[in-house]
């Protein structure tokens, strides 16, 4: 088990290292001069900021220094939590902008991932039991997973928000309100949260249901199932065992899908102008705010790595084979 976690942590450590390095490399080796384009853009919108920007750049990147020195400086700034200054929200530090947005993204993502995973697995296992259900649910599930997140979000916003007028379609709370601890505000939050959550949930749900259905069908062909059935074990016991074994690859699948789910959350936020990381990315792209973009990138990578580690721990808790040092399927 130590070996298992050791390997995982090594991979995550290396991944973070690679991510930071890529982050450092991209602006330097891409065609064009991003610094200049950024400054010239800032020049138009924030004339006062340009000189400060230039100074900040020089101190942070130190273009006059050798490359390795620049690279180390980059790491140094990163470790101090300094991701630069946002141009879009000049002069707020990027870290602050991100920290303000993160709760919204987590508030959407965590419930959507967990609930869709649990519900999708239950439903997929249930669908695998009946042929008619299987034959109608399966294509529906595939259509759901094939749906671009933002399109489902747009459809929901249009149908339930604009046409039916049940839900608001923009922001995280009513524009007439200020954040405060009150029932009215909480209600507004919930109301604004529902549609983005629902569209994330639905697409992910289709994927989990299909994955589970396929896994269960393979498990029901396994030798231990044939043996149990030969000994007259009732379907209930057989299905319980099959579910338990099929859930393991689904946990691994959860780790594999994290990136896709995060991407889904980003575009969904954009549709609903939900003030999370996706919204920041859109603003960063539109305002050519590369500091903000890269900071968000690092933040997301870090989040995904942490989530992966949580999934690894969950896997060990569920699969006895990893605990007994037999390797298991991870």
């Amino acid at each position: 088990m130590r070996r298992y976690f050791g390997r995982k942590l090594l991979v995550y450590g290396l991944t973070f290292f690679v991510a930071v390095t890529v982050n450092w490399l991209i602006p330097r080796f891409m065609p064009g001069d991003p610094v200049q384009s950024m400054l010239s853009r800032a020049n138009v919108s924030q004339p006062a900021a340009v000189e400060a920007m230039r100074l900040h750049y020089t101190s942070m990147f130190g273009f006059d220094q050798p490359l390795w020195r620049q690279y180390l400086n980059f790491w140094g700034a990163l470790l101090r939590g300094d991701l630069g200054i946002s141009i879009w929200l000049f002069p707020t530090p990027v870290t602050d902008v991100i920290v303000r947005a993160v709760p919204y993204t987590l508030g959407l993502l965590v419930p959507a991932i967990l609930l869709s995973w649990v519900a999708g697995n239950r439903f997929g296992a249930f669908a695998a039991r009946r042929r008619w259900l299987d034959n109608s649910v399966l294509p529906l599930g595939y259509v759901l997973t094939a749906t671009p997140y933002m399109w489902l979000a747009i459809l929901l916003a249009w149908a339930l928000g604009i046409v039916a007028g049940i839900f608001p379609v923009a922001g995280a709370y009513s524009f007439a309100m200020r954040p405060e601890l009150s029932w009215a505000f909480a209600g507004s939050l919930l109301q604004h949260w529902f549609l983005p959550f629902a569209s994330l949930f639905l697409v992910a749900f289709g994927g989990w249901a299909i994955g589970m259905r396929n896994m269960i069908i393979y498990e029901l062909e396994a030798d231990y199932v044939t043996y149990l059935r030969s000994l007259g074990a009732p379907g209930r016991l057989v299905r319980r065992y099959a579910f338990r074994n099929a859930i393991l690859p689904q946990i691994t699948g959860l780790a594999l899908q994290l990136g896709v789910l995060v991407a889904g959350a980003l575009v969904t936020e954009i549709v609903f102008s939900y003030p999370g990381l996706g919204h920041l990315i859109l603003q960063a792209v539109q305002n050519q705010d590369f500091f903000l973009l890269q900071g968000t990138f690092l933040f997301i990578v870090l989040g995904v790595l942490v989530a992966n580690f949580v999934v690894d721990v969950a896997y060990v808790l569920v699969d006895p084979r990893t605990r007994a040092g037999m390797g298991g399927a991870a």
Partner: protein
Amino acid sequence: MSLTVTGLRVHYRTLRGDVKALDGVTFSVADGEIMGLAGESGSGKSTLGKSLIRLDGRMRHVGGTVELDGVTLPIGDDAAMNAHRFREVSLVPQYAMSALNPTRRIGRMVSELLASRGAGPETAELERRLELVGLSRDVLDRYPGELSGGMRQRVVMVISTLLDPSLLIADEVTSALDVSTQRAVARTLREFRDRGLVKSMIVVTHDIALVHQIADTITVMYAGRLAEKAPAEALVTAPRHPYTRMLISSLPEAGVRHEDRRLAGIPGAPPSLLDPPAGCRFRDRCPLAFARCAEQPPFAEVAPGHHVACWKAE
């Protein structure tokens, strides 16, 4: 009479039509008898073994009856058959090494299985029997992955016989083992019978030499039908059916493992079971064939306990 099979017909559904894997099989197994069931692959021996406990998805019970201790087994009805499985008919499968749920401790799996069949947890008896096959009780606290293949197979043998079934089917239990382990398994099976844990047993195998060590009687199948059934010694030393004779003479010296290959000594191949020819199915390959072989010979008793399906076996 422990087991009586009469005119059993089981077909396999395939794209090109029904494969008549069992085409009128009649025999009986006495109380306390260990019957070896031998034949080439495709002879129907595995189908027969499965038919007695659980037909797989593509098999269909077409005709004939199976009676165990005077009760007819509903072999074509998967749900009704459940009541008889494990308690009266049980199985040590060919895939015994992978027959245990990899994510359950063995002890817990056994108690859940027993509970699901309405049998109490028989912990003391279970431990006694594990000891019988040379395993300590702490295998119950282990996951299957922590045991060796041989240990897993022994665990399966213990589980399968836990409710003292009347009939145990052992399907190719030795094919994945080395010679010394094969002998140990053979000894264990006999011991189970001797101690009365199972009343009678059918050992399905392609290995006549090995089954000779375990079985009291041996039945040889050919192309979906029985060719010969006789006491083990008689079948090996004085076979009457020309197919059995060729099978025995093509064996390497006794005790050496005989692979499941096409018999080099017998030219030709078994007929297709999609649309088998009338009459004796061995006649195209048989050196003794004559005009009458166009008619199916009965599975007749030519000596006490010795049945042969051949016109020339008198």
